[in-house]
Subunit: 154 residues, 2 copies
Amino acid sequence: MELSGSPGTWSGLSLRLGQFLFAAASVCVMSSAIGFANYTAFCYLIASMGLQALWSLGLACLDGYALRMKKELNSAVLVSLFVVGDWVTSILSFAASCSAGGVVVLFDKDAYFCSRDPHLPCGTFELATAFAFLSWALSATSALVMFWLLLHLD
Amino acid sequence: MELSGSPGTWSGLSLRLGQFLFAAASVCVMSSAIGFANYTAFCYLIASMGLQALWSLGLACLDGYALRMKKELNSAVLVSLFVVGDWVTSILSFAASCSAGGVVVLFDKDAYFCSRDPHLPCGTFELATAFAFLSWALSATSALVMFWLLLHLD
């Protein structure tokens, strides 16, 4: 049975590219916000999304190579490696998205920083957090698909 | 094979009681902090930890009943129900802990609210968040054990 999202397929490649694009967009948008470095949660978001982007780009290249060379990427060692990497990156991404989301909600709704200080780039923070959540959603999909593959490998 | 932490065993019962105690401690500590209701992340922490405490208490009662009546709780329907419930509560707990953690770090390290405003109960917020992380760790253990049981049920 061919599961959509498996490594070495077109659906897997597009899933990886989607993760990479959203994570890279989150890093770029957050880096463009003035004063993000004053907030630990936003620095952690950049670190975690940077890791996610590198991991997804690497696996996207591997998928592209496997598609071009018509190779299978279904060995137990490779799939186990993908499972561990995907679970670690998606848990880190989720933690980063949630903590950044908590801070953004605090700025916007609780402490009224955004309406009081017009220089604070609240919209930019929100956009970066939204991209991080999208990247996490795709990464969690990949992690589930990989785990399913590992269970049905034999 | 008897896996420690399965429903209807002493280890399962102690895991559930641990989750319940940490979640209830988190709710009590956070509710005792003056002004927590001004912060969305802390309200969400209380809601999520309340759900976790109810769920864990319910399953602890079920474990105690099964131990007393010497019943097995290994039917496929029950274990599937436990898996879904455990995964949902542990994901919600993790999200609540991370967003509260982001806000606590912001208060303490980034915005210096804690040193500027001596009336803000920062230590109490930190303690409640730490209890929430502990409750999540036990809940994640339960979720993994239940998933393992579901896979090896047949």
